[in-house]
Subunit: 196 residues, 2 copies
């Protein structure tokens, strides 16, 4: 979505996480952490989603993902981090597998786990967005940015576990505004070349 | 540590997380997420550790926490995010409590959980740092920055769970270099006003 918003062409190389392709030696040579995404650009390998987006923002400043004012930038980064640091690291496939392996968490327990962490963060996020005048059509004003990308991705993930966004009217509204943009529509799982 | 590196004076207000003081109404009014840290500066409340440090970097550029070149900035941010996104969110007190409540994880199971996520990230981090010429006395060159702050804090956390840093010689060396600086020494738990 960030690459699309920046209008950048890119080659998409799919890894099937359910088949552990991100742990294959050819990918570990690219990212020793064995995690996606990795972006090769200007002869350098970049890893970690938010740092990759910060790089794109610095290198291609048009169609900014962050506002100009320092305080607004901190707000957008904090909203993005709420999802990238407080939800996603707990709810991704490797953690769901780990609680299954270690604690025997079945599908229902994994759903409860996912829901717990999504709700714990998205409920205060709804409150923070609803209470702040800087919230506009998107998380910060009327142009989409870093926080919207994270939020939109999270709302899509939520659907896989039946977490209903109706309880968060502001998040739902912003998610709908994102979905109207082709750059976001192009980022949904079903639109990827390797979608099943 | 970031405030100290920037040479900024600040008032430290302690919350006892074991007594859930971060969930008290007066703090929820400051950060609806009920998580520390929060920094009040210039009449604004900032939340989330990395965005707070990015704010300090933009507002007080002296003694930089990030290098000047875009590629180096992406590297430092990625190293910081490895800890801030892949270890800390899984290993903090609220998650340890949750696996105890939901899965009955006792002290030994919590230690195994903590160790699993610390090792999963710090082992490839050791490899990435050791293989990269940009690594110096610190994670990136010979001046401390964003990644060193995260790493140093993680190495301290590790000790609480008996995770031995000897297995990661580069991390150990960088941690020792940090410990020599008064700005890092001032950031250890025992140096805080509310240390027991």
């Amino acid at each position: 979505m960030a690459l699309a918003l920046k209008g950048l062409e890119y080659e998409y190389i799919a890894l099937n996480l359910r088949k552990d392709e991100q742990r294959a030696s050819h990918f570990l040579a690219i990212n020793p952490q064995g995690l996606v995404p990795a972006l090769e650009i200007d002869g350098t390998i970049l890893t970690q989603s938010l740092p990759i987006m910060e790089y794109l923002e610095e290198r291609f400043p048009d169609r900014p993902l962050l506002p100009k004012d320092t305080s607004g930038r901190a707000r957008v980064r904090a909203l993005a981090s709420m999802i990238a640091c407080e939800i996603h690291p707990l709810n991704n496939l490797r953690v769901l597998r780990h609680i299954e392996d270690v604690f025997g968490a079945d599908a229902e327990a994994q759903k409860a786990w996912f829901t717990h962490w999504a709700v714990s963060t998205l409920t205060p996020m709804e409150q923070m967005l609803a209470a702040d005048k800087r919230t506009g059509r998107f998380c910060h004003g009327d142009e989409p940015g870093l926080a919207d990308i994270c939020l939109f991705a999270q709302l899509i993930n939520n659907r896989r576990f039946g977490v209903d966004a109706e309880q968060w009217p502001t998040l739902l509204r912003i998610g709908a505004a994102c979905a109207e943009l082709p750059e976001f529509a192009a980022g949904v799982p079903d639109a990827q070349p390797d979608a099943l």
